[in-house]
Symmetry: C2
Amino acid sequence: MKLITRHTAYAVGAILFAAKSKQDIISVEEFYKGTRIPKAFLRKILQILSKRNIFSSFKGKQGGFRLRKNSNQISLIDIADIFQEGLKINECFFKKKLCDSEKNCALKKKIDDIERMVVKELESITIASLLNYNKRRRLK
Amino acid sequence: MKLITRHTAYAVGAILFAAKSKQDIISVEEFYKGTRIPKAFLRKILQILSKRNIFSSFKGKQGGFRLRKNSNQISLIDIADIFQEGLKINECFFKKKLCDSEKNCALKKKIDDIERMVVKELESITIASLLNYNKRRRLK
DNA sequence: ACAAATGATACTAATATGGTATCATTTATT
DNA sequence: AATAAATGATACCATATTAGTATCATTTGT
């Protein structure tokens, strides 16, 4: 059971870093220094994120990425959706034999319910809430 | 996001079949006829399930497997635990850089919370509840 | 003795995940 | 205009997990 993959986590890491930074445009090199996520991998992730409008990108010298959304407009589900292809709900494992049909497979029904619950939770976790969480702890 | 794997689902399928059957000891061949789960694969799954005391097994002619527990004593979490090695909670993805330490990584905390929720749900889904679910639908 | 069963185990195949490398293109700076 | 520093696109490789098969050994009822 892996709710989020490394891609997702790294993407979140990069976004958190950008959200905290006062800098406007941040290069992969700078992301790397801040996060220590392997550079080539990070780069691919950032490219994908900018295709999906989480970042804008700027080519050429002084180029890099700029966060395009406010940190409370990005939730974990957005990121997970990008890297975990729709978090697709489990297909039926069984053929006709076991249930009468896929549509009333009890197992699938129950698992789907749980997945929906998880999706709802992921929706509620925004980048802003993650930033906040850390800020609160630091004050203690 | 795959909450349960095929192994788990097939195991559940086999257990459901055994729970419904009036037969005492059921051979792999018979399981296969009832579930259409690939025979060799099913066999391995049943072997594992009997090592884990979900089934008892009987060698030799007229041998096979007998369900060892009542259907309300087996929950999805038991099966998932067997085939998905403890449903291990996500380790931290980041090095020191991003959070102060693994112990106050907001992302990990949130994901762990969700996972605990999922585990609780899986605990609540027993074989009996799956059987019931189908029974109820059939009556409609 | 034999056939029908599981036990143990080794092996293979497919898929998903994680990660690197490289060439093309763009752009600020000199 | 040349150059260096950046991303875009894309192809590739490595590793781990999941799915599934095959085979020989052992047991047991008939």
